[in-house]
Subunit: 201 residues, 2 copies
DNA sequence: CTAGCCATGTAATCCGTTACATGATTGG
DNA sequence: CCAATCATGTAACGGATTACATGGCTAG
């Protein structure tokens, strides 16, 4: 009844912020290079947009977790080089040691599938086939990344960790691919004896 | 160069809206029951909050895709019963037939792992072990749901489709679980010969 | 000359959760 | 009587993408 109190009630989910902090920690200095890193190395389990990165970078400076030295060399486009402060390093370490939160993921194909009863089976089948192909390509891409990683001497410190992340992506995608085969089979089973209700459509 | 035109440039990602439309399509009539359905049946690949459901429901009515009949029976809490209009049914069918968009998912564990080089291996190992346990529990939960589904006569139309979604969840989680074993093994390999840089912490 | 990469940034908009606020009915 | 379940809704916040705006350097 009185309610309305301004409780600071356990802040949560600052993922992107710590992603940026982490990339600063690995020595990336510009917003641009962070975006690149996410796109090329983290793409199958993370994403980031400039619309978040640059504001976060400025926040970090405001809060004393990072420093920014603008670099105005002639013959170079102006750029801001960011670096972690000790305080930033500390927060990063603290976050790294905490158990990760797992945010629930949304899988639109499965959502549609849950309404599958109202859809002609041919369409559902096509969706599953397309998804299988998407998975196959993703698995291939992971295999390629893995091969590349293994032939790179400079990354030896990061290598085993990056390898793990790629293998997780590959394992998950491969499982989904296999599941598609299963699902298609199950669907063919329905199709034989089944009355699909989309006929009323 | 001319740009600046007010293009209606291909609207995207209306996932939750269509989830609601779909649930209307399967005969769910109240916001409350939709939330329940998501929580009990779709939970491992979708989520929904009242904060979205109720506003969406009102929007749908405004746009003529659904109707709302408030029901004020004595001895019953007031509730609004929503139903699809033909126009709503049409939009739902159109969406169901479209190939799903796959939004990239974020996996915080993998993000932390990508910074693993800066973390004591003991901590990383613990994270992986915890994740393995989470996966194991999820796999078990899926197995239970599957068993329940198979013993339910009323759901025979939805049954094969719901089964598919559960099996996907199970397959993915099982793959992740297996991957954890792999990753832990790889980690033990590093640990033997490895210099972890967190020593400078 | 021009495409592509380097590089930074903002504003609009959308999407989604959380917390709050309310309250009736039912079963133990 | 108390807890659970049914039931509806809003406000504040937080988070993320998209589109726009700008512009220099380099290699072909």
């Amino acid at each position: 009844m009185e309610g309305l109190a301004l409780s600071p009630p356990a802040r949560k989910r600052l993922g992107s912020r710590f992603a940026v902090l982490g990339m600063l920690g690995m020595g990336l200095e510009t917003g641009y290079s962070m975006k690149k890193h996410v796109e090329t190395n983290l793409r199958h389990f993370w994403s980031a947009s400039y619309g978040r990165i640059y504001p976060i970078l400025r926040e970090l400076v405001t809060e004393g977790l990072a420093t920014c030295e603008p670099e105005a060399k002639p013959g170079r486009r102006r750029r801001n080089r960011y670096k972690l402060t000790p305080k930033g390093q500390e927060q990063l370490n603290a976050w790294l040691a905490e158990p990760p939160e797992h945010q629930p993921h949304r899988h639109e194909l499965l959502l549609k599938l849950s309404f599958g009863r109202y859809v002609p089976t041919a369409i559902t089948k096509q969706m599953l086939e397309e998804h299988r192909e998407v998975c196959r390509l993703a698995v291939d891409a992971c295999a390629k990344m893995e091969a590349q990683l293994q032939g790179d001497a400079k990354l030896h410190r990061d290598q085993p960790y990056w390898l793990m992340t790629i293998r997780c992506g590959r394992a998950v995608r491969a499982a989904e691919q296999a599941w598609c085969d299963d699902a298609i089979e199950l669907l063919d089973g329905i199709d034989g004896q089944g009355s699909d209700e989309a006929s009323e459509m």
